[in-house]
Symmetry: C2
Subunit: 438 residues, 2 copies
């Protein structure tokens, strides 16, 4: 029998414990698949005594992840601590410096230090795998890094945060407000006590930055992403979207344009009949549009201990099958030293359709003002839906929803500024981008 | 610079020409991704003079695929000839015997000879890649073979034939008959002059047999598949399905049951709100349900020269990145000599819901007969839809649609035999299985 692959696991929370348990319970099946055993020889976690449903007595315990990373008892350092700096970063750095392969699920760390880590791994011929960092159990990293070798990607977009998608799904299905849904999500454990990271789009941005590098061969540029969350999406928006044949999803979108790469995270109207519109609750999905293959869509669980462990163990199994010292695929698909600097496309030049919901005073001249300012800015309207106030009072308010044909962010802004200046708007208009989706 | 990977392409039809063209046009990008050049050093095709949009003058021409396969000018034999025997089989056998890696898109050959080819490859440490054989450009083979190492699959199912899906989509969207759609598909090049292979489910069965082996670690068993095509699906079925919240898709389904593995290809009702129900036209999709990850769905183009070439080149690139002589993943996920014999579950024991559409004589006692025979066979009804004859004539006919709760094929057959014996049916009832789908 071949030598076992010796694994050190740093972090034994939900995911780490699931990885340890499944590696143990499925050791025989993994041996068949990999041609060699996978043995947990080291672990590092804060609480040594907690029952994690797996016997780890055969592994050496390390108080410090860095000590585990440097130990000559392991071949692979599995980082499941989390956090973009601190112990996770120190551990991965130490592991690569000590010649250990690395598997991580840490999107925040890769978004911030991915290129540095890739350079460190590649100069030593080490493998750095991170399938679990984006879309949990969905094999999007392997697909982009390996399967699409013959492709130049034009656009990649997806539902990358389960919490946000759960809230939007519940709002539509159960007709309840954002606040109620969020409270439910927190009660069910789908949302953190402080949900900012998920609902304001930052988690999606971390994942998007990694997909962007894989898609376009550019350096990870987490600070160059336009980010807008879902906390100001109302039931009125959801109803109006449905009426016009759309559903609202929080998407991360990266797209090659003439002026550079667009990276944006925002609530998005997708056509009701598209596949991605059906991706509901905590499920994630990534769509890839590329020159050779056309359009792919991958969907599945974006979080959860077991689903994430599935991706982590797939990464470990790939290392077990590889020839020692032979780094198979570059970390971001191309060698890290050849990644191009990220060239940002201005969001104001983003071309697309827009959904605009306004509450206006119901008086003469409102429509003329709206239509006039749209026309002045070269904006062509695809549909207009107007619901009058139910009781027909004078000076009442009206909801007006406009859907535009393709235009740019700056034209929309100019038109709305002009409408605002005319004094017809009751409140700030809601503007949601429309994304063509298959 | 590293030594080039030397590729020999056998078959320069639509896919072969696309592979050659893209390998040539993207040689620089592939060099970056693989760390070494990929060079086409040999080709074999019938017509040496045809313009294929690519300069192949640098490659040696072979009249026989077998001579190409044995040539010491190549490291990888790319079989794009097609057919389950003949030149394709001879070529692959010769390549493996001569120590060449193999890439193929040939599902028929793998369905018939997959285990033999896998044994031949594995005993020599050679790679046999076949991503393009199932669902074209969709990376389902790599996902099942590599990403899901930590998983035991419970069910895998999918839309695996673009022609059949195109016809079903057009029938519903344009309200035209099966025959009209088929004629259109033939005109557009989506269906062959003899469409039997696609519309009667045999192509889907070939692909399913490969997914089954990957899913369950069993030997490929193409002759153990229940196969039923879409040629008797009528517009009435499509309308009735829609009314009841379903859409009809031709699915291949493989499922582990208590008595063995079920493999079946048949028209299937899937819930309208499911993701797979939205997969339309020539797009393919594969859903995988597994213990660790949960449910995954992958969709994309199932055919076409470029999409198929994307998968073939992904396979070639994986070989370019591998260490020479090191076979990375076993061909079917587990070593071929450890694949278990296929144990067939009887289709008559298949448990699920059924859609039954009947045309009955409109007379007293019909419903009592129907309901009675269903009850006698322990079949519980989920819905009944009955549309009377439009003009209310005596002795007219009625369309009755039943949807059952979970029952077995044998119970359904027994009940329908009894209904038939009562003489109420105008014609043979239409029975379509319902598949739970996410």
């Amino acid at each position: 029998m071949s030598e076992p692959l010796r694994v050190g696991i740093a972090g034994l929370g939900t995911v780490g414990a699931a990885v340890a348990r499944i590696l143990t319970n499925k050791s025989n099946s993994l041996l068949h698949r990999c041609g060699r055993p996978i043995a947990i020889t080291g672990v590092s976690a804060r609480d040594r005594d907690r029952d994690r449903g797996v016997d780890l007595s055969g592994a050496e315990w390390f108080d410090s992840p860095v000590a585990l990373a440097k130990s000559d008892k392991i071949d692979v350092f599995v980082e499941l601590i989390g956090g973009e700096n601190g112990a996770a970063l120190d551990g991965i750095r130490a592991a690569l410096e000590s010649g250990r392969h690395v598997v991580t699920a840490n999107k925040a760390l890769l978004a911030r230090h991915g290129v540095e880590m890739a350079l460190a791994a590649e100069e030593r011929g080490l493998i750095l795998n991170y399938e679990a960092a984006v879309a949990g159990g969905v094999p999007v990293i392997k697909t982009m890094r390996e399967s699409l070798a013959a492709n130049d990607v034009g656009r990649v977009y997806g539902i990358l945060n389960g919490t946000a998608n759960y809230i939007l799904t519940r709002m539509e299905q159960d007709e309840i407000s954002f606040e109620e849904c969020l409270a439910d999500a927190q009660r069910l454990g789908y949302a953190e006590a402080d949900p900012t990271f998920d609902i304001e789009g930052f988690d999606t941005a971390h994942k998007l930055s990694i997909l962007t590098s894989l898609a376009f061969g550019t350096q990870v540029a987490i600070d160059e992403i336009y980010v807008e969350g879902i906390s100001n999406i109302s039931l009125s928006d959801i109803h109006a979207a449905r009426e016009l044949g759309y559903r609202i999803k929080l998407l991360g979108v990266a797209q090659r344009t003439a002026t550079g790469i667009e990276q944006r995270v925002h609530p998005t109207m997708v056509p009701l009949g598209s596949v991605i519109a059906q991706v509901d609750s905590v499920t994630n999905a990534v769509a890839i549009e590329a020159d050779t293959v056309g359009s792919l869509l991958l969907s599945g669980p974006g979080a959860g201990g077991d689903a994430t462990a599935s991706a982590v163990i797939g990464d470990i199994a790939d290392i077990a099958k590889s020839r020692p010292g032979h780094q198979e695929a570059p970390v971001f698909g191309r060698p890290a030293e050849e990644l191009e600097p990220y060239q940002r496309a201005e969001i104001s030049t983003h071309a697309g359709g827009y959904f605009i919901r306004m509450t206006v005073h119901d008086r003469i001249g409102v429509f003329a003002s709206l239509a006039g300012h749209m026309a002045e800015n070269g904006i062509s309207l695809a549909s207009i839906v107007q619901h009058g106030s139910p009781n027909g009072e004078e000076n009442a308010m009206k909801n007006v929803v406009l859907v535009t044909h393709e235009t740019t962010e700056s034209h929309i802004r100019a038109a709305l500024d002009a409408v605002l200046a005319d004094g017809h708007l009751v409140s700030k208009p809601q503007v949601i981008r429309i994304e063509p989706a298959g």
